[in-house]
Symmetry: D2
Subunit: 284 residues, 4 copies
């Protein structure tokens, strides 16, 4: 069987669902998943649909062409269609913290993640042994004030030469530039170690300690040019108390960061996230 | 506008979604919500759909008739269609505990619940003052070993004379009989004060204390003839520690019971629950 | 038996615990609870201790006098000693939202709260019927731009004439003045409907909606002159999704507000909260 | 500085806290942590205390001897005293599942765990490469029906020759015998992949799926001779829905298992757990 996933958003009009499901039925597809959402405030319709087609008579490219002609243009849809045959390619950016890296590679190794990791990039060499253990190519691209532009060029070449679909900043401690962000819009996933929008910026655990919060959090979001202000994909929290030192907050937070980032990656890789107006619609 | 909600389940076959959405489109309906689920193990298709129709040209009864002829019979669907014009009627059964009663009536009063409460039934008089405060008729129907059948007859008459749609046992401390259950299948909602299936039966907080669990729970489920074994609608939990006495567990548990029961009632009243094979599909 | 609760904080020095527990032993007290905390960063020692004394031979006032002479002065302690014989008196300030009021009065009625509520104050008359139902005196003190000072005088007179120990703002929609705050330092408990420090100020659910957060929260804190910046007593959160409208966020948030405020009140009334440097130490 | 941790339980009598804290003060110790708990139902007193002593003038062995003579015998205490200088030695038993192993070794590597792992034992060879990557000796001890006794002898020799303090079954798929359990009472930590006491025994995720629960859990407990019935150290849960297949439950559960087991190990290794009457007192 050939499975495709369709993501659509457009102005809400009567008859869209019927038109799309009819189109699938005419092409002999069997709908195995359909979810939709209407943002009533902005009158925007969102839909995610999975459909199976019999192998021999189906071409994803032909389907796309007809879909565009018959439906997308008519309803002025923004749309994406993915074949399940092609796993998304994810580039992993890290610095010195290893907990998210271990967690992701452990999941990757066990087959939990529906994606490929062609390489790991880091501005430090510290985590190379972990990459080696998991037999994933590791590229050391140092970043200094003076070499920032040059380093980014190298990153871009790597990304393009491997046809990378999306980038994960697994506690990568450099700010990525607008150039990279524009090349990969809503395709760079960051993990921020606080419950955003509380504690934007550096050292959120220190700020949480100072404020005396009773709950800490982690947030995974798409990177936009405004710091820590991109569309939120996933958040989770944990209860803490006055007995937690900053180090204890950091240790507790690591567990949140790992799970929140892993969940965000899974949602993205399984094409379950749509972005509109700096917010996400998650069809989970 | 006239809004209807359609719930369907049947064997999974290609073309169901297209057929149903087409049918709606032909009737000039605008689909504002659609969610579906396929139980792959049993090959059962579930769907929930909300659609709006222009007032003047629409009759729910006519729609039902045509729906049955054109779709339901063809696909051998189990189906229900509800008009948003008719709020479900809920009978509230209580005994002596007041926390769920206060909570539900507070929500009812504030307009949070999309339902009507024509009356409250109790086997004790203790909670009558609360019913009076909220100006809801209160029927005292005592239940003893010898009067159980007779009491149930009175309950049934009340339920039928008010066209009750579903029953909520808000810590009602009597076991309801098979006769009542059969008259209201998957329409009697109970709140059990444990994380089922742990601690079935009486005194679950005592059992939780004895076992030394670190988390307690509450479970709302439909009542079936087997005790505490009906389809689960909603569950929630709270962390506890060795410092909790049984009384402290009970106090903590009350907050869970209130929220879990209220959520289950909202899901049911908003027609978001389907039952199949003693499990629920919740379209939330 | 006569039970007292002692709360102490002072610079951390060797021998404090031994000195205090010895003192209790010499007075024939039996320690039934002892918890302590050392803030290593600031070198501050905190202790909470409960002790039982035989009725006939014990006077709380004498105990306090000796405690001060023998221990408190020596270690330069800030200290408070409470007898369990005297329940704290709580004034309840409300405006138009009724959910926290219903919740608190339901708990009060069922004996869950270890305190007295001599009266309810409101700047509106809307919730008077609820106060009447629960037979608690209700004082309507309107607040307008011009009458703010005068209204506050009336509030202060009420508070003083009833020997109120602490004040709870149960969604009271007026900002209390520095004068009131200074009279009741760390004795005015507010419920803020967000996960502070995210979304300080008015309309936090609107801000949460706009930011697209996946979790909402509620925070109970002591009121200080800086808005929503006082010591945090309790926080809790709930998961939400893109399907939540602002109204749905508000409804979901109400459940958080109720529980978080009730828990904060219980902690305060049971003398389990100490404040230092705008943060709380919670001995739960 | 020399830090020791004292754990005590005995019948509750007046003056215990004062006697112990006095004893510490006389020995020139500075108490940096003290928590106690009284089980009122059984009249048992529990205490955990950390104290620092100046290096030169302190011997843990001498302290133990005097403590026994002066205090322990007098109050008939069960007691344990640990020096912070000696990290506990943990043996890791695994089979084929790798998620807990990766998680624990990642934490171990990053210095998060206050313990030593002298070796890993497995009844299969599958996970040897992971042990090799982390440079921890791996012992393959196959277990079959016929070789069970012999295999256990080998395990015991390994454990004894390395002076192992406690054993962790990180999804070890063999039932350990009464002999091993008796040698390591309340020193064998298991992770069970359900919210005990729900779903005791094999295949709990299958049972959870069948029952249609809305929450799944994981439980870490000490191993006793009765299956899955030992004292519970830590539990956690996650919300699930009807959309979860058994495989999805298993994947979601893995994250719970990792965190719950890691937390239980930290509590045990930091001497924060006391066991009485098949329940735990956790001084966290």
């Amino acid at each position: 069987m050939n499975k495709i996933t369709i993501l659509i958003h457009c102005n809400d009009l009567p008859g869209i669902v019927a038109s799309v499901t009819n189109f699938i039925a005419e092409k002999q597809g069997n709908i195995i998943y359909l979810d939709q959402h209407v943002d009533r405030e902005q009158n925007i319709f969102f839909m995610r649909l999975e459909s199976e087609f019999i192998e021999t008579s189906f071409s994803t490219e032909d389907f796309k062409t007809t879909f565009k002609e018959v439906l997308a243009d008519k309803f002025k849809m923004k749309w994406r269609i993915y074949s399940s045959k092609k796993k998304p390619k994810m580039a992993l950016f890290v610095s010195k913290y290893d907990h998210c890296l271990y967690d992701l590679l452990g999941r990757y190794n066990s087959g939990e993640l529906n994606l490929e990791i062609p390489f790991i990039v880091s501005n430090h060499v510290d985590l190379k042994p972990i990459a080696d253990n998991f037999k994933i190519p590791f590229h050391h691209i140092p970043v200094t004030k003076n070499t920032k532009t040059e380093a980014e060029e190298k990153q871009l070449q790597l990304l393009e030469s491997h046809n990378i679909d999306f980038i994960v900043l697994a506690r990568y401690m450099q700010i990525v530039s607008g150039k990279l962000i524009n090349k990969y819009p809503n395709k760079i996933i960051n993990i921020h170690h606080s419950f955003l929008p509380a504690f934007v910026g550096a050292k959120p655990y220190h700020s949480a300690y100072k404020r005396g919060v009773k709950i800490i959090g982690a947030t995974s979001h798409y990177v936009t040019e405004e710091l820590d202000a991109g569309p939120i994909i996933e958040q989770d929290v944990a209860h803490v108390s006055h007995t937690y030192t900053i180090d204890a907050l950091i240790a507790k937070g690591r567990d949140l960061e790992k799970i929140v980032l892993a969940n965000a990656i899974k949602l993205h890789a399984n094409r379950k996230v749509m972005v509109y107006n700096n917010k996400t619609v998650i069809f989970s």
